[in-house]
Amino acid sequence: MKPAGPRTLIDKIWDTHAITGHDEAETLLWVDRHLLHEGSFHAFNQIAAREATVAHPELTFGIADHYVPTRDRESPDLDPQIRGMIRQLDDNTQRHGIRQFGLGDARQGIVHVAIPEQGLTLPGLVMVCGDSHTSTHGAFGAYAFGIGASEVAHVLATQTIWQKKPRRMRIRVDGELGPGVTAKDIALTLISRIGADGAQGHAIEYAGSAIRALSMEGRMTLCNMSIEGGGRLGLIAPDETTFAWLEGRPFAPQGAQFAAAVEDWRGLVSDSDAAFDREIVIAGAEIAPTVTWGTSPEHALPIGEAVPDPDAIADADRAASVREALAYMGLQPKMKLTEIRIDQVFIGSCTNSRIEDLRAAARILDGRRAIVPGLVSPGSANVKRQAEQEGLDRIFQAAGLSWEDSGCSMCVGMNGDIVPPGHRCASTTNRNFRGRQGPGSRTHIMSPAMVAAAAVTGHLTDMRALLPEASR
């Protein structure tokens, strides 16, 4: 199906995967990769209830991340419910002949970190997973989105999915980012401007010179948070940065096949005259290191600013919601963001736990001590090995932070790593929802270097002040 006329990258991938149906209602799309984690037990139960088989186990991959312990993995004291969740995934994948990177596997990690490392994420693929941050894989020019359990069951049974065509939004970030400004700051700035539902019903293409200049790690961070702005997915056209990162990865095409694939992938760009339903432009130079102060990712501000004052907000509903957020977070209106004291830090999650993230945090922590406790959970076993080769583990530990195994950990608290009630955590994660890191927990999200800076000072801090003079 190749309609005439200029098309966006989003349209091109859609057209390549459309099997049948109508764009106005729903289209049946082919799925190239289906990723599973422990939460997929509901879907396997649905499959079992109808005695269905898995249509394409060779396109399906399991990985344990949401419930895995980050310390003492072999301990006999492991919570039996957690052990049960991990075993269920083992059993279900084994029963259906699905390859799995389980607890002891050298390739284990958070699905959105470890799967790209294996070369399973490729430009132009349609990828799904029962996890909203599947948008991460869009960094490679894949059309990747999160689905629910019934849809997981449907993909298991048919390798296809019904989708309504999303509207297309382009977000351009032009120019250069300032020192210390990262993809996380782009994402938070964007969400604070468009709102947590600003991109609802849309697929986002990120473009512009500041996006082109991002590493693959940075692109993954940005695409990851598309969902926090309400987007169905976010993607970036593949380029030399993408191809260089993918070459030689275990499951990527090899040798001559790789070269042939790259030829095809070069066509995965929006035509210059293609129309988008909505376009947003941000100047890279305007973006500062940004933190959240409230209970929605849209509650984000540059670190130099102050907590909003609900009394100064004209709209009564908005004022009320700001007041509720401040009450939950235990903050005073108009206090400076840098006056917010923290109890602990967390560096991890599918947003910011890749090698580049750990390097950025270690750069701030090197030769300094954290004055609050904290946990560093690398995004995958591979990231962990690489960081240890580079000596980053020693920097974290010398600073007083604990260096553990890989998993979702304190991003969602399912494995028991939680922030206690009323405690305040500076975190590299993606959601500052009430209770996200544990009942009553208070979360401020920011980049890894900003978390490191907060660890050192004990309050939210502009990390630029801690950079070596030459790089400010």
Binding site: T16, G39, R431, F433
Partner: protein
């Protein structure tokens, strides 16, 4: 799936915006099998005031007992893709959620479980949240075919994607629907394997 045509029941006014799926069901309850029922976990921490916040306690007010409809503000069901959020709503007894906008994944999960995500203009939601008949716990009527909500003298139109409406009205089963398309799928697959040879995972490196 049970077809949805219309319902008449009390509607709970939940005047919150951005109710995320972490609120609808906190992660710590998600290890349990569905057969135990998820209704008791719905909005758990906001109903019981875990952190001093009881903004969802309205769910437990006696005059809304047996409510099958929930009215909320914008961006309902944002965040995590957990279908357990829909299970909690469905097991509690809800069959229709009325809001100005929904998280995309949540809305799709809702439809798969026979729960109607009815999109209503922001000002109409505000009117419903103030509607005396609704607030008194009198039944509201949701008519899916006509796409209207009746609360007292108020009649409010709602939006829903046409594909979803057809699924809900007919109670279609997605997997059956797709299996009926097997000829189209096979034809697609035969063509696609030739056009995109690189799309399959490379098997050059065994474990």
């Amino acid at each position: 799936m049970k077809p949805f045509t219309s319902l008449s029941s009390p509607a709970v006014p939940l005047s919150l915006a951005n109710v995320d799926t972490d609120q609808l069901i906190p992660a710590r309850f998600m290890k349990r099998p569905r057969s135990e029922g998820y209704g008791g976990f719905l909005l758990h921490d906001l109903r019981r005031g875990g952190a001093g916040d009881t903004s969802a306690a309205v769910l437990d007010e006696p005059r809304f007992a047996g409510a099958a409809c929930l009215v909320a503000r914008r961006n309902f069901g944002c965040g995590s893709s957990r279908e357990a959020a829909v299970y909690a709503l469905a097991d509690f007894g809800f069959r229709c959620i009325v809001a100005p906008s929904f998280g995309d994944i949540f809305a799709s999960n809702a439809v798969k479980n026979g729960l109607v995500p009815a999109r209503v203009a922001e000002e109409d939601v505000e009117r419903l949240l103030q509607n005396e008949s609704l607030l008194a716990g009198h039944p509201v009527v949701i008519d899916l075919a006509e796409q209207v909500i009746r609360a007292g003298n108020e009649v409010v139109a709602f939006d829903i994607d046409i594909g979803w409406k057809a699924r809900l009205l007919n109670g279609w089963d997605d997997i059956e629907l797709t299996r009926a398309k097997c000829r189209e799928i096979d034809a697609f697959r035969a063509r696609d394997l030739i056009e995109r040879p690189w799309a399959a995972p490379s098997n050059n490196r065994p474990d």
